[in-house]
């Protein structure tokens, strides 16, 4: 397959690209219900014998059995709900038990250091898991000017992502409404563990 560079300006190694892709895929899955196209993509996923590979294969298998309507319903039950969803995928909630607390303020500071801000159109706060993963993706790919150094990525990851994301993905894996998202939870948890480990190797 020919590689079409995600970001033409920067030379990002294949290993780092694979991280960016996973962040992007997870961000997309957690940010909005899957549409037909994404569901087709999920069905096409294959995995090898590694734990993450098996997670992807499982995700593909579940996606095969669900319709886009069922996936939308699941997303709604998990994250939207009538009053609220089963889970609240926000850093502040996970770290303090409340929304919009200090962790969000600290995240905003870190974002302004990176030169990024929430869009006016955004209705969710920046500490939503999908937003954090989009930021990780952007740092790797150089969306914010140029690729952010591994040391700075690590700092952001450690301060704002790793502190709660594994717990969140464990909850997702175990959530009552989770079918497709049971696999997403597994993949997310494994990926977070891999990230933590890889950063430590680099540091």
């Amino acid at each position: 397959m020919e590689a079409i560079p995600l970001s033409p300006q920067f030379d990002v190694s294949e290993e780092e690209l694979s991280r960016a892709r996973l962040y992007r895929l997870l961000s997309r899955l957690l940010g909005a219900p899957a549409d037909d196209e994404l569901l087709l993509f999920l069905r096409s996923l294959k995995g090898d014998d590694s734990p993450l590979g098996q997670g992807l294969a499982a995700l593909s298998g579940v996606a095969d059995r669900l319709s886009v309507e069922e996936v939308a319903q699941e997303f709604n039950d998990l994250f939207i709900g009538v009053i609220k969803g089963e889970l609240l995928p926000y850093g502040s909630h996970y770290l303090t038990g409340f929304l919009n607390e200090k962790p969000l303020a600290e995240l905003r500071d870190a974002m302004s250091e990176l030169g990024i801000a929430r869009s006016d159109a955004a209705s969710e706060t920046e500490d939503h898991i999908a937003s954090l993963f989009e930021i990780m993706h952007g740092m790797i790919m150089g969306d914010y000017g140029k690729p952010v150094s591994l040391a700075d990525q690590f700092k952001f990851f450690k301060d704002h992502v790793e502190t709660w994301s594994i717990k969140f993905f464990e909850d997702l894996e175990a959530a009552k409404s989770a079918r497709l998202f049971m696999s997403v939870g597994l993949i997310g948890r494994l990926f977070m563990e891999i990230e933590g480990e890889a950063f430590k190797i680099a540091a």
Binding site: D11, V12, S13, R21, G31, A32, S119, A122, Y144, L150
Partner: protein
């Protein structure tokens, strides 16, 4: 792959290769880079509705990615 300014250490690269690349990253790569990238905008728009923060940089980048 070839020359890079990324200071990916050999150990980190090997680890990531085994842990993520070996996986279905090839599969993830294929469509996310091509199929999905061609459509990069659509997921983003929907994400935006869900609170996705689209910065000017990101917008610019997706414009670039579409070409």
């Amino acid at each position: 792959m070839k020359n890079k300014k990324s200071k990916t250490s050999g150990a980190r690269r090997e680890f990531l290769k085994t842990a993520t690349l070996g996986v279905g990253a090839a599969a993830v790569a294929g469509t996310l880079l091509k199929g999905d990238d061609a459509k990069a905008n659509a997921p983003l728009k929907s994400l935006e509705g869900a609170g996705y923060s689209e910065t000017e940089h990101v917008k610019k980048y997706y414009e670039l990615a579409r070409m």
